[in-house]
């Protein structure tokens, strides 16, 4: 192949962008995706898996100690009653949002480039929601009454308070986790059937076969399946927007200066998509090299993702400015103090870290060279996630640490157990992701095959291998006989 990847980005065939490079046939797609699961476990996989598992063990130790001793093992105290626990929660829920944006919102907008990355982005969503749900679960102090969050009466015959945003949050995140898992599983069924049909051993055939549900690729089945997939996308779209909106209401419905602001729901959703795309990039840069998927996950995909990050990062920057304007315009001295304190107070280092990582650094994505440079993308994806973690830290801790009265001011410092819980949550996330890439097809082959030119029922093989519009092709070449008796 004489053309480089960069050339192909700029030479769309028949007015459509080339999404999959090297013109593979259907079987080549099956091979490259299934081979990654079927071959012997590479050493590189263990190099990622063992440290992840060690960090997951650290989470187990940290959580056990927390349960044994109480939440005093964290650096929490009056006035900072929420710190890294809720920061981590909001951070991980936000990560998940990019997966749903890719799988649902881009599906509704018919963005076909999503097919190369949607499976792994959805897996990322589910694992991120698992990490997120850990923190509200363990931060309650008395974990044995955590069931008070469920919609059932407790031993005093009392019900949870459904009028509280904290309970809305329980519903929003658990429904989000459930619907994301359903959506992911429905998408997996045809690929699980593919793994079943290729299986060489009885164990594999049975394991993949059970979960493939006896899928036989029937068009009568595809017909209902595609309807279900479209409906799930249409349901997941308002759902994902509601989830981070409701998470933001945990803060916005309170009356605390720094939290009580109506810009939070859209601002949180934009930030969530921003950080989630950064995490997708981090994972995809590694996976496409490790599993030789450069022709499926192309620079074009990275280019698109970087553009979305530029947009959402700039929206987040606009929201930071709006907060300052609103506090000044409110004329409320406590509001004004809170925001000046963010930028100039004891946590100014965290505030300016956030601004540098989230607002300034993504501006490099105005340049196409940066959007298609793997090293720049990889470094920035990590920088942006550091920034987005600090955003949640700044919102939560700087709003709490200087209470209305200077006599009740304080400064939060994390303990070793705060740090262990954060690192441990990354252990949980990467352990799950390593298991995913080892045992499940990480690219949605049934969807990638549909974006190949020859998947079009009006495509005809030719030297140019181009898509011909069938209405235009018939009078010109006329190789296609008109179906007799067609209605």
């Amino acid at each position: 192949m004489a053309q480089t990847e960069a050339d192909l980005l700029d030479t769309p065939v028949a007015g459509r962008p080339t999404l999959i490079l090297r013109s593979p046939d259907f079987h080549a797609i099956t091979e490259v995706v299934a081979e990654a699961v079927e071959r012997r476990t590479p050493i590189g996989w263990w190099l990622f898996f063992i440290p992840s598992l060690a960090l997951l063990g650290l989470l187990g130790v940290a959580v056990s100690w927390l349960f044994w001793e109480g939440i005093g093992v964290w650096g929490l105290n009056v006035p900072v009653g929420w710190a890294w626990d809720i920061t981590n929660f909001v951070f991980w829920v936000g990560i998940g949002h990019a997966g749903t944006l890719i799988s649902a919102i881009l599906f509704l907008f018919r963005q076909k480039w999503r097919t190369s990355i949607n499976r792994s982005a959805e897996a990322m969503t589910i694992f991120a929601v698992m990490c997120a749900m850990t923190f509200p679960g363990i931060h309650v102090g008395r974990v044995w009454v955590a069931y008070w969050m469920f919609p059932i009466p407790n031993q005093m015959d009392m019900w949870p308070n459904f009028r509280s945003p904290l309970l809305w949050d329980v519903f929003a995140v658990s429904v989000y986790g459930t619907v994301s898992a359903l959506f992911w599983y429905v998408g997996l069924i045809p690929d699980l059937a593919m793994m079943r049909d290729r299986a060489k051993t009885r164990t594999r055939k049975l394991a993949y076969g059970i979960f493939a549900l006896g899928w036989r690729g029937s068009v009568r089945q595809w017909h209902h399946y595609e309807t279900a997939y479209l409906i799930l996308a249409a349901l997941a779209t308002p759902l994902v927007l509601s989830v981070h909106s409701i998470v933001s209401m945990d803060f916005a419905v309170s009356i605390l200066p720094g939290w009580h602001t109506t810009v939070f729901p859209p601002y949180f959703v934009a930030g969530a998509i921003f950080s989630g795309f950064a995490m997708v990039l981090t994972l995809m840069v590694i996976c496409r090299t490790a599993f030789r998927l450069e022709h499926i996950i192309t620079l074009r995909h990275f280019d698109y993702m970087a553009k979305i990050m530029l947009v959402t990062g700039t929206m987040v920057g606009f929201a930071y400015a709006t907060e300052f304007f609103t506090s000044w315009y409110s004329g409320n001295p406590y509001e004004i103090f809170t925001f000046l304190n963010r930028a100039r107070g004891p946590y100014a280092w965290a505030y300016w870290t956030m601004i540098t990582c989230n607002v300034i650094s993504p501006q490099i994505f105005w340049f196409k060279k940066a959007r298609t440079s793997i090293p720049i993308l990889f470094v920035l994806s990590i920088v942006i996630n550091i920034g987005m973690w600090f955003e949640r830290f700044v919102i939560i801790v700087t709003s709490l640490h200087r209470d209305f009265l200077p006599s009740s001011w304080g400064y939060f410092t994390p303990t070793i157990w705060d740090i262990s819980c954060l690192l441990g949550s990354f252990g949980l996330f990467f352990t799950m992701f390593c298991l995913f890439v080892r045992f499940l097809p990480m690219v949605a082959t049934a969807e990638v095959k549909t974006v190949l030119p020859q998947a079009d029922p009006h495509w005809q093989p030719g030297p140019e291998r181009e898509i011909r519009d069938h209405r235009a092709a018939r009078p010109a070449g006329g190789p296609e006989p008109a179906p007799e008796g067609a209605s």
């Binding site: 429904v175 359903l182 009568r220 595809w222 017909h223 209902h224 082959t445 049934a446 179906p483």
Partner: protein
């Protein structure tokens, strides 16, 4: 495998499942489906590794009733979510919290929405399973060796032997004439 009608008995009520024909490309399958549809067959199906655009039209399938199931489930979920909150706070255990009214309907909106979405999504997935008769781990098609490639790169039409128009010799010849790469008889 070339089609050989002598392999089975001549009765149209034969104890075999039907005929399976393989096509090389989505385009071949698409045009073959149009012909099979126009010939008037009803008990038949096409099988593809991925959803081929427009094939349900070429097969003459009607719209899926799934959206109605989802709508019903979504409305049921939203109603249940709302009634639960009303019943708990205004009827079963009225308690003043933060000075909010017992029947604080605006505060009930988020959970009503979430439960509605949950039920609708469950309706979409399990409704789809029901309409597709899944799970179904055994099927005569799985006896065919060539059918293993249906999830990879092969395209098939299967016509069941209990279709009123089915005649194992004529139907097999029809499929061959439509450009099938191979035609085989499926044991039941």
């Amino acid at each position: 495998m070339p089609f050989d009608p002598s392999r089975t008995s001549g009765s149209s009520r034969a104890p075999y499942y039907g005929i399976l024909a393989e096509f090389a490309t989505p385009a071949d399958l698409y045009h073959a489906c149009e012909r099979v549809r126009d010939a008037g067959f009803t008990r038949w199906d096409a099988h593809t590794p991925f959803p081929v655009h427009g094939l349900e039209g070429a097969m003459g399938l009607r719209r899926s009733p799934l959206p109605w199931i989802v709508l019903g489930m979504g409305l049921l979920g939203a109603a249940l979510g709302f009634v639960l909150q009303w019943w708990v706070h205004a009827s079963a255990y009225p308690l003043v919290i933060s000075g909010k009214p017992y029947f604080a309907w605006p505060a009930f909106v988020p959970i009503t929405f979430e439960v509605g979405i949950l039920f609708a999504a469950l309706g979409a997935v399990f409704g789809m399973f029901g309409l597709n008769r899944l799970p179904m781990h055994h099927h005569p098609l799985f006896r065919s060796k060539v059918f293993e490639r249906v999830t990879d790169d092969a395209f098939f039409i299967s016509i069941e032997s209990w279709d009123p128009l089915f005649d194992q010799s004529a139907t097999g010849k029809l499929l061959e004439s439509l450009g099938a790469r191979s035609v085989e008889i499926l044991e039941s």
